[in-house]
Symmetry: D2
Amino acid sequence: MAGPCAVESEKQLMEAAKAVQEAGASILRGGAYKPRTSPFSFQGLEKKGLELLAQAREHFNIPVITEVVDPHDVSLVAKYADILQVGARNMQNFALLTSVGRSKHPVLLKRGFSSTITEWLTAADYLLAEGNNQVIICERGIRTFEESVRFSLDISSVPVIKRFSHLPVIVDPSHAAGHYSLVPAIARAAVAAGADGLLIEVHPNPKEALVDGLQSLTLSDFARLMTELKAIAKSIGRYI
Amino acid sequence: MAGPCAVESEKQLMEAAKAVQEAGASILRGGAYKPRTSPFSFQGLEKKGLELLAQAREHFNIPVITEVVDPHDVSLVAKYADILQVGARNMQNFALLTSVGRSKHPVLLKRGFSSTITEWLTAADYLLAEGNNQVIICERGIRTFEESVRFSLDISSVPVIKRFSHLPVIVDPSHAAGHYSLVPAIARAAVAAGADGLLIEVHPNPKEALVDGLQSLTLSDFARLMTELKAIAKSIGRYI
Amino acid sequence: MAGPCAVESEKQLMEAAKAVQEAGASILRGGAYKPRTSPFSFQGLEKKGLELLAQAREHFNIPVITEVVDPHDVSLVAKYADILQVGARNMQNFALLTSVGRSKHPVLLKRGFSSTITEWLTAADYLLAEGNNQVIICERGIRTFEESVRFSLDISSVPVIKRFSHLPVIVDPSHAAGHYSLVPAIARAAVAAGADGLLIEVHPNPKEALVDGLQSLTLSDFARLMTELKAIAKSIGRYI
Amino acid sequence: MAGPCAVESEKQLMEAAKAVQEAGASILRGGAYKPRTSPFSFQGLEKKGLELLAQAREHFNIPVITEVVDPHDVSLVAKYADILQVGARNMQNFALLTSVGRSKHPVLLKRGFSSTITEWLTAADYLLAEGNNQVIICERGIRTFEESVRFSLDISSVPVIKRFSHLPVIVDPSHAAGHYSLVPAIARAAVAAGADGLLIEVHPNPKEALVDGLQSLTLSDFARLMTELKAIAKSIGRYI
């Protein structure tokens, strides 16, 4: 899964969609509703963003994933997206989980950045308890004392989840690293550790991104990374 | 502010209300909607709980505070409660913060258990940006490696907040400690450090509490603690 | 216990000793051997520092505490100091603990900044196992994600230690806070929580201190703080 | 680098040495001096352990690495070992670092479990400042809130170190994971992320190990892991 952090314009999204699909990504990501630390930061294009995602989905015949933040927007977002994303800050937003669980739409549940693996799997129970069993969980880094990265990617979570749960687990190296130069090494590690997928931020022009540009790969860097990842996957008997 | 973690029954709430008021508490707390880690735990009495809180408020002429968890319940909860509480797990639930901010009702914003002080004050900006300036913030412990408590009460947050913000800051020693035996020492420390208030869990019969019994003080322990706190407050020129 | 982080000169130490004694401190602190993060920082006056401490001890008739960092310096340092300090970075330096344990000299054992309370008490066992039972333990803040302080003072450790151990526990607010403006509030909290003492950095001229000037109180700020602490101690039935 | 956590007997060490060499390990590890959290745990065979290591080195013609814990044991240990190890708990034991730095012997410096990467590289400066430039650094997991592992392996540290330092960096998955079942996935991730080596605990009979048996691989599990690691290394253009 790859694409820009936020949907910004038709041009930006279509360029990104084309490039990530060509490089081998099978799902397009893009945020329409952005939960931001400050109320004065760009909050996403909202409904307009959903429409652009739908347009890209149709044009490139690629499924899309996008985040939902309000329990009462679930049915609206589910009309446009193939997978609903619940973000790290909402991992224990139980009103949202219950609403998403009822939708029966595939869900990607990000790990809260200070949640234990037990709390994360228990949050997934809110989805399962409503009868929604199409749940993917996503490690995206935890908060530690280390200052050289935004979050410390908890690579051990991959084998721990594999041992205690049947849910597919994917890894988001972009939000963890916070810097594009660290993304490829963490992505390679995730595949080698046994992750079932990756969620990577890619932007046609990271320097002009409205959100998280510093952690986004360029289109060509992403293509190069995909080549590396395919080789590692093959070496452990898996295929991308 | 004192009272039971969850409203369980008329008898339980009225007993607690009577006792905390007699011991000197000025606001009654009680949860009607309980955000629980697991979907299979008791989730609160919901609307029935709100009605019991309103009954206690009228009978004892004491203001009440209770938590709201869904942006679309804000106006309902605001009919029954004098102060709306946003819990630690929802500190960055921006849809909820925006809705609470629009209500113009006094709000207590708990610190997320892995949020920096900067993120906490920036979350408060979501309330202030909607024109709601009756905001109290509440330190309730942060997640660390230490295992002898549920959360480590960050006592330094009190002087840090006093230095960088004009918002009143109170301390919840009960959720931090996780055990009643540690609550009095932390409560005394909070008053000595300059906190503007406390939020303490008190239950007529902690052993039978449906939620968080182990960290609740008995009615008599709470009365004894209030005597200690009054003495400390007086020694630093403040009054309870 | 109060005094400068590092012994720098006769003038500095004698001024500090005089002032802290007048304000009511009962033990003088001062570092002769300084364990510094970088090899290129000031490492202390070493033996010359010990001699200055001995001079202040004699002149003012006040006991002194200083740090020892090498197992083979223990007998040397014990000639000059009344209390040996084992620093946070050496809490699990078992060769040093064994050597200090054998000396039978009173010891102050600081908590490692990422050690659990269990590990801390178990480190004290290295001293007790050698027959040294004059052990004081000192909370000085733990490493967390919070960025507004150098370390987060774990106020809960005071009641936890009181519950599980008979060892006296004191608190060092200076190294935790990392900034003089936060020291008084944390010191007051420590006394209110039941700490048996404090270890505070005081310097005649913090702006010119070679080590940790930003967290040192001036002589007059220290005197003012002592007045506040005496009032709080009295309010909970203790005396300074 | 592979071998038992502690040298326990001639039979144990020789069996382990033979097996790890056959599987492709190029350096034998084994602890003679064991820094243990409690003084009542097994502390290592000390000088006898060094002699057994020297015997294995001669018999199998394989270099050995072992830990040194006291600054005054450095020259003794350097007689028997090809690489001196400074453990995580001693990363900021500056007396030890200075002594090891003076020896000019190759050194492996483990990361303190709560040290930032900056502090870790600055600790290496203590070695470099004494003129010892044969320094390998070793990531072994950091302390976080996550409870399913002993320490959280900080996989990001590999690319961060590669960016800011020229020192070779290796990874110890065994102490991080704390459980043998997690070691292979973390080891594979480390190679894929670009680590220059691994330090893995292997024991002929983990169930009877005196130290850390639960995290040790059996001889056959280690051989299987080496096959996987060689495939991953090859896929990214490196060789084991």
